[in-house]
């Protein structure tokens, strides 16, 4: 956990995703890892979670910095689906 200069807690983590999707009529497997972060209440909520927990996330994508193209998933809401 780190803090912004104004004192808000920030938590960085990575999310892994596993699913099957249809693309051009073909079913395909999707596996990916997305860098994510949570600020303030969402960051506090992260404390309850452990590695491997399955969660449902509501949030948005934003650029990590103005200078690069890397994206980060910002978490607005997080819901525990299943303990890992």
């Amino acid at each position: 956990m780190r803090y912004t200069p104004a004192g808000l807690p920030v938590r960085h983590f990575s999310l892994s995703h596993d699913s099957e999707q249809i693309e051009a009529g073909f079913q395909r497997k999707i596996q990916c890892k997305v860098p994510a972060m949570a600020v303030a209440d969402a960051a506090q909520q992260m404390k309850e979670l452990a590695l491997g927990d399955m969660v449902r996330i509501d949030g948005f994508l934003a650029q990590k910095s103005r200078m690069g193209t890397q994206l980060v998933l910002h978490v607005k809401q997080i819901q525990l689906l299943e303990r890992g």
Binding site: T4, P5, A6, G7, A40, K64, S65, R66, M67
Partner: protein, 733 residues
């Protein structure tokens, strides 16, 4: 019988008008010149100072108002001081009334008379002289020590500190019992021969002392150029001793109040029985007045003060010492923009006494004077402690050894070595706060000051953004004011951040940060310096507060961060200042038995300035800078004045200066008028500023031009534009 002619008093008042005011003053005599008076001025009453008497006035007799009261509670300003003040008003183009009134302690500018000051000195009474040491209980050690001391002669209030916290209570007790009494005047104590062994002078120190003392009753300006740690202070002390023995007063000027404790302490220890007073802005009004009064009445033997002390009347003045003469704080930056060093030289000339300008890095102007023979040069080329050599200076190329969090690996290693050897390190970074700016990585927003063209500095611990120029303060915003991003980043390093990074690297080290924020409380700096001396600190992080004058025997490493900034400056004095500052900081390392090392982090390890610094070669650096200045026709090879204007809108200030250029050109004098330009920091505290530089080949030409030019400008004065003139400006902002 003819009626006595009415006497007219010519009075100056603290008003921005360059004129004298006539008042009727029967019964005043020549020796009242310099006294404060109360007069009615317009609808109010004001305190003024008599600067002359006349028997007629340009004002019709029935319109003349009388002097309401003549204050006789303080000695009048003596003729030499009035003369000096007139010179300053004239040279710096400032109204005489403001100059004169500002030379008085605040208390003396008020319309109430001054109550007699509390007694400063105490003696045994007739009854007290009968008391034997054995009459006091053996356990009353403070009483016994105080009695012993009083038996040796008068005791000054300032020396009560020697008796601990009980001192003043025990003294009051003595007075109540009728053993001690206040002495109305400080009895002149003959200079007691020092009993303690004095440090031996090295040949250069001895020669300096001898040459200065060879002729003390004529004006002799000396430049005492001694490398850091060469024992300039010891030379001062020997000079003071000799002057005091001849019953003279000594004025010692120091640049900043923060430098005063150490020198003050050394003077106190060397001359415990002499009456020493200090004069600086850290005193309260009562102390200031009392000290000024003791100086002006000739009771104080040594006056130690900052620039404002240069105007203190000193009837027995026989020597002036200006320590760290290159320091820019000798220059006042508002009101009367005088240079206390230059005024001190003028004062010494008027009084026909020697003046010693001391520095390891003399101002280029002073150096030039010493090269051209106007000042005599005395060099102290060796460190006084005979084992001590100047520290080795190494440059860390930060393009290769990329610093992490501001600190490069070689510097961290060097600090670790010092920790192991139980020696002290200093990390110097001339920037206080956590980081100089707060930035939004998402949109590029920067924490700008709403009132200045500057950035707000992050003070993380206080969760504040502060403007170091206008004092504006605000909370650190929880999210970016432009785009809403919460994850704002402090960019760059200040002392607080360096302190934090060091604490992460060296968790068990005792780290002390010394900057203006950590020393805000009165006497806190003194306490912190004591901690360093008592070996309670391993790593010091500090700003220029630590750069000069301090003598820490266990400090063997100085790390310098962020020095490169000044290399980019547009100010032609930036490199002179940077070199002086670095040489001063460098001088903190290895002053006693332990050898010192200096590490400078820089992107430009082959820059001439750093290479000269590595050789500790001030003379070579000064000579090459002088050659540059000569080529560019910059000071000290020309004389400058800066006309500054400010208004709510830049355009108004610029328009005023454009008019001023026109007026200046029409005078047709051999001066160069540059174009008006916006100040580098255009906005300050909500006002927008511009400036105009004037340059001439001689002081006289410049002065004559200014006289004529400014008289014209004063007539055109407008409410919307405020302007000021700075003769011999040091800062172009």
């Amino acid at each position: 019988m003819t009626a006595a002619k009415p006497i007219i008093a010519r009075i100056v008042l603290d008003v921005p008008l360059d004129s004298l005011f006539d008042y009727r003053a029967e019964g005043l005599a020549e020796d009242d010149i310099g006294r404060r008076v109360l007069v009615s001025f317009g609808r109010r009453r004001a305190v003024g100072v008599i600067v002359g008497l006349a028997d007629r006035s340009g004002v019709a007799e029935n319109k003349l108002k009388p002097v309401l009261h003549v204050f006789r509670d303080l000695p009048p300003l003596p003729a030499d001081i009035l003369h000096l003040l007139r010179f300053c008003a004239d040279y710096y183009q400032h109204p005489l009334g403001e100059v004169v009134l500002n030379a008085l302690p605040q208390r003396a500018r008020r319309s109430e008379a001054i109550a007699a000051p509390p007694p400063q000195c105490f003696l045994l009474s007739t009854g007290g002289r009968e008391i034997r040491l054995d009459d006091l209980p053996a356990r009353a050690s403070v009483q016994r020590r105080l009695l012993l001391r009083l038996q040796q002669g008068a005791l000054c209030r300032a020396d009560l500190a020697d008796f601990g916290s009980q001192g003043s209570k025990v003294l009051r007790d003595f007075i109540a019992r009728g053993w001690a009494e206040a002495a109305t005047m400080t009895p002149s104590v003959p200079l007691a021969p020092t009993t303690a062994a004095l440090p031996e002078l090295n040949p250069a120190q001895a020669e300096a002392v001898q040459r200065i003392l060879a002729e003390t009753d004529a004006f002799h300006p000396w430049l005492l150029h001694g490398i850091t740690g060469s024992g300039k202070t010891e030379v001062y002390l020997r000079l003071i001793e000799s002057i005091l023995a001849g019953n003279g007063q000594v004025l010692v000027l120091v640049p900043e109040i923060n430098l005063t404790p150490q020198l003050e302490e050394r003077i106190r220890r060397r001359f415990p029985r002499q009456n020493r007073v200090s004069l600086h802005s850290g005193l309260n009004e009562t102390e200031r007045l009392s000290h000024w009064q003791q100086a002006a009445e000739g009771r104080a033997d040594i006056v130690l003060g900052t620039r404002l002390a240069v105007f203190t009347p000193l009837p027995r003045l026989k020597l002036i010492i200006v320590d760290e003469e290159h320091d820019s704080s000798y220059k006042q930056q508002d009101g009367l923009r005088y240079s206390a060093r230059d005024v001190a030289v003028m004062r010494a000339r008027e009084r026909s006494i020697p003046i010693v300008l001391g520095s390891a890095t003399p101002a280029l102007e002073t150096w030039h004077n010493s090269q051209s023979g106007r000042y005599a040069l005395l060099e102290l080329p060796e460190r006084a402690a005979y084992q001590a050599a100047p520290p080795a200076v190494h440059l860390i190329d930060t393009r290769r050894a990329k610093p992490e969090q501001g600190l490069s690996a070689p510097l961290l290693r060097a600090i670790a070595e010092r920790l192991e050897r139980r020696e002290q390190s200093l990390v110097f970074i001339n920037r206080r706060g956590f980081s100089p700016v707060l930035m939004c990585n998402a949109c590029g927003w920067l924490s700008a000051c709403p009132r200045c063209s500057s950035k707000l500095v992050v003070h993380l611990r206080e969760r504040q953004l502060r403007c170091h120029h206008c004092g504006h303060e605000t909370h650190i915003p929880a999210s970016c004011p432009d785009c809403g991003n919460t994850d704002l980043s402090p960019v760059g390093h200040g002392t607080q951040r360096v302190e934090e990074v060091l604490a992460e690297h060296f968790p068990s080290a005792r780290i002390l940060r010394i900057d203006r924020d950590s020393t805000r409380r009165r006497h806190s700096l003194r306490a912190m310096l004591a901690q360093v001396h008592d070996d309670e600190v391993d790593i010091l992080v500090g700003t220029q507060l630590l750069a000069k004058g301090h003598d820490f025997p266990k400090l063997t490493l100085v790390g310098i961060l962020n020095a490169d900034g000044a290399l980019y400056s547009t100010d032609f004095r930036a490199s002179e200042r940077l070199f002086a500052q670095l040489l001063q900081v460098t001088g903190r390392a290895g002053r006693a038995a332990l050898p010192g090392e200096v590490l400078i982090q820089t992107d430009f390890p082959s820059h001439d300035l750093y290479l000269t610094l590595q050789r500790h070669d001030y003379n070579a650096f000064a000579d090459s800078l002088l050659a540059e200045r000569r080529q560019a026709d910059f000071p000290p090879f020309c004389f400058q004045a800066l006309l500054r204007a400010e208004a709510t809108q830049l355009s108004e200030a610029m328009a005023f200066l454009a008019k001023a250029v026109k007026a200046g050109l029409s005078l047709n004098r051999p001066v160069t008028l540059y174009d008006p330009v916006p100040a580098q920091m255009t906005r300050l505290a909500g006002r927008e500023r511009a400036q105009l530089l004037v340059q001439a080949d001689s002081r006289k030409t410049l002065h004559d031009f200014l006289q004529a030019w400014l008289a014209g400008l004063r007539e055109k004065a407008s409410q919307r534009v405020r302007w000021s003139i700075d003769v011999d400006p040091l800062d172009f902002y």
